[in-house]
Symmetry: C2
Subunit: 337 residues, 2 copies
DNA sequence: CTGAAAGCGCTTACAG
DNA sequence: CTGAAAGCGCTTACAG
C-alpha cells in the first residue's frame, strides 16, 4: 500500500533533474549526460524500483498499449480457444487485453473507448455477421470469426465450406457411401453442411441425411440414436460441432455399437476442445485458432504501430486431425425385397 | 479515426471555461453556474459526444476503476466459470478487468501494476496454495480458489471436504455400500477424497477403493473399466472431477452396463460444466462459482471504495445437484465360496 | 456566478 | 552537458 516512486523521486535521489532521469532511462543519454550522472540515475531507479507510471505515459503518448476485445457467448460457450490464442499473440506483441461482453454489456464498449484502448479485436464464438458499434470504428478494428460487410475492417474467418468438405472426405476415403450430418443452426453449421453436400455430390453419393439436431450433447444423442435405429442407418456421421459428436458417441455405446467398428464418426471443431479427448478420440477437422489469432494480432499491430491500413479478408484452411473413430464401413446385409 | 472531443472543445463551443464544463458535467453546478450556461454546456457536450478521457481522469484521481486478474491454466483448463463470474460481478460494480497468465507470463503482472490497476483478484483453476508476488500486495488483493498463508489477503475457497462428503452421501442415500473414488492429483482431489472416506467410515462402510486415475477422459475411462471388470466391482463411483466422470460413463457404456441401472455415478465439479450435459446427466456436487466470485468482488470493492481492510478467510458450501446417474445398487449374486 | 491556476507523472523540444 | 518549460486532459481549490 506504499506510494510508488516517480521520476521526481529518482531525480531527487540521484541529484539531477526529471528530464535527465527520463533521458537516461529511455536510452537517449549518449553524448548528452555524463557517465557519472547516468550511473547515479540508474542506481537511484533501481534502489527505488522505479518504473514509469503507464497512465501518465498514456496521457502523453495517446497510446495505452492495450487492445479492447469484444466478444460474447453463444448457446454453447465463449470462444475460449480463440480468446486464449488472441491473448498469447497480443502478449507477445506487448499488449494487454481488456475484454468485454459486447452483447450482454454493450455499455462497457464505451468504457473501453473512454480508456483509450489502441484498437479492437472482435472475437465471435461461431462464424457470424456482426455489426460493429459505430464508435468502435474510430480506432483500428480486426474481426475474428466474424465480419461486418459495411465496415472497412479486416476480417479473418475459417474456411467452413472447406472444413465440411474435408470432414466428408475423411469418411469417403475410408469407404463410406451413406453419410449422415448432425448439425445445429447458424452460419458455420450451414457452410459446413454445404461442404459435406458438395463433396458427397461430387463423389456421386446419395444425398446425405442432414439432421438439424441442436446444440447440446443430448441433442446429438437423440438424433444419432434415431438414425442408428432406422431401417437403413448411415455408416458414417459428420457432426458439425463437438457436443453433437459426444452425444453420438454416447448413443452408439448405448446401442451396443462400437466406434469405429460399427459406425464411424467425424467432428468439426467449434473450439470446445472436446472431440479429441474422447474415447476413442474422434477424428476431426480443426479450426486453426492459433493461426487465425496470430494473423489477426499481426494485422492489428501493423495498423497500430506502423499505420498500415489495408483491409484484408482472410479465409483459413482447417486442418484435418485423424482419429480412431474412423474405420471402413461395416458390411451390411443387402436389403431384402 | 477522428480525434475525440475534450472538455476544452466543449468549453469553446459553449463559450465558457473548462472549469465550468467540469462543474456542470459532474453535477456540481447547482447555485454556481447559471441555468443558461448549464444548458449551453450540456448541449455542447451532447453535440460533440463528449465523454471524459479516462486516462486523464485516472492520472488525477489515482484510480483506474480497473481490476487486475491473475490466473493460469492447470492441465485441464482455465478456471473459466470462475473468471466469467468474476467478470460479471466486477462489471456490475463498474470495474473493467485486465487478465494475465501469472504463471506463463509473470512479467505482465508488472505491466498491470504500471497501469495502476486498483486491486487484484487471483483466480486458481483448482484449489491450491499460491505465492502472490510481493509487488502485487501493494494494492488490495483477494484470492479465489487459492490462498497465501503468508499474506494478509482475503481468501475464498470451496469446502472441498464437505463436497466430497456430499458426493458420498448421494450414493449412500441411494443404498450403495461399495464405493469407488476416481481422482486426479492436487489439493482439491485430496480433500474431496478425504470427505468421501470420512463419510464412508462414519456410515460403517468398507473402505472405498480410491484410484489415482489422472486428469483426462481417457484416464477415467481406463480406471473405471478396470474396476468394473474386477471380481467385485463397486456399485457406485465418485469422480473428483468431470473428465473422469465422462470417462467412466463411456467405459460403462462400452461394457454394456447401464447408468444408473447397473452402476451409479457422481461427479464433483471442477468448473468444466461437463457432467450436467451428459446422457444421462451426472449427479454432482457443484462448486458455487457465482457465489464465490460475487463475494470476492464485494470484498475487494469494499476495500477499494470504502477502505475497509479486514481479512476474511471464507469457505463455501458446495450444493448438491441431483442427476439421473444415481439409482439403487444393482443386486449382485452372493459371492461363491 | 465564473475564470485562471495548480497539479496528477510523464517526455520532448528548447534554452543556456 | 543539463535544467526549466510546455503540454497530454482532467478536476478542484482559489480568486475575483
Amino acid at each position: 500500500m506504499t506510494r510508488r516512486a516517480t521520476a521526481q523521486d529518482v531525480a531527487d535521489l540521484a541529484g539531477v533533474s526529471r528530464s535527465t532521469v527520463s533521458l537516461v532511462l529511455n536510452g537517449r543519454a549518449d553524448g548528452n549526460i555524463s557517465r557519472a550522472k547516468q550511473e547515479a540515475v540508474r542506481d537511484a531507479a533501481e534502489q527505488l524500483r522505479y518504473t514509469p507510471n503507464a497512465v501518465a505515459l498514456s496521457l502523453r503518448s495517446k497510446r495505452t498499449e492495450t487492445i479492447g476485445v469484444l466478444t460474447w457467448p453463444d448457446r454453447r460457450h465463449m470462444p475460449l480457444a480463440l480468446l486464449g490464442a488472441v491473448y498469447t499473440a497480443a502478449s507477445r506483441a506487448g499488449y494487454l487485453l481488456m475484454m468485454v461482453d459486447a452483447v450482454q454489456r454493450p455499455g462497457q464498449v464505451d468504457a473501453l473507448l473512454d480508456r483509450r484502448v489502441d484498437g479492437f479485436v472482435v472475437v465471435a464464438p461461431e462464424l457470424t455477421a456482426f455489426a460493429v458499434p459505430e464508435a468502435v470504428a474510430s480506432v483500428p478494428v480486426v474481426m475474428v470469426n466474424c465480419f461486418d460487410e459495411s465496415l472497412a475492417a479486416s476480417s479473418l474467418v475459417p474456411d467452413e465450406v472447406g472444413a465440411g468438405a474435408s470432414a466428408a472426405r475423411l469418411l469417403l476415403d475410408a469407404g463410406h457411401r451413406e453419410l449422415a450430418v448432425l448439425t445445429g443452426d447458424g452460419l458455420a453449421g450451414e457452410r459446413r453442411v454445404l461442404g459435406v453436400r458438395r463433396t458427397a455430390a461430387n463423389a456421386g453419393l446419395v444425398e446425405p441425411v442432414v439432421l438439424a439436431a441442436g446444440h447440446s450433447v443430448d441433442d446429438g444423442y437423440a438424433a444419432a440414436r434415431r438414425l442408428l435405429q432406422s431401417d437403413l442407418p448411415p455408416t458414417g456421421f459428420v457432426c458439425t460441432h463437438e457436443r453433437l459428436a459426444l452425444g453420438a458417441l454416447l448413443a452408439a455405446a448405448d446401442l451396443g455399437l462400437r466406434v469405429p467398428d460399427d459406425v464411424s464418426l467425424v467432428s468439426l471443431d467449434d473450439g470446445e476442445d472436446l472431440a479429441g479427448l474422447l474415447v476413442p478420440p474422434v477424428g476431426r477437422v480443426e479450426r486453426p485458432d492459433e493461426v487465425i489469432a496470430a494473423h489477426a494480432i499481426e494485422l492489428l499491430v501493423d495498423q497500430l504501430r506502423h499505420g498500415r491500413t489495408d483491409v484484408r479478408r482472410l479465409s483459413f484452411v482447417c486442418p484435418v486431425q485423424p482419429g480412431s473413430s474412423i474405420g471402413p464401413p461395416r458390411l451390411r446385409a443387402a436389403p431384402t425385397g
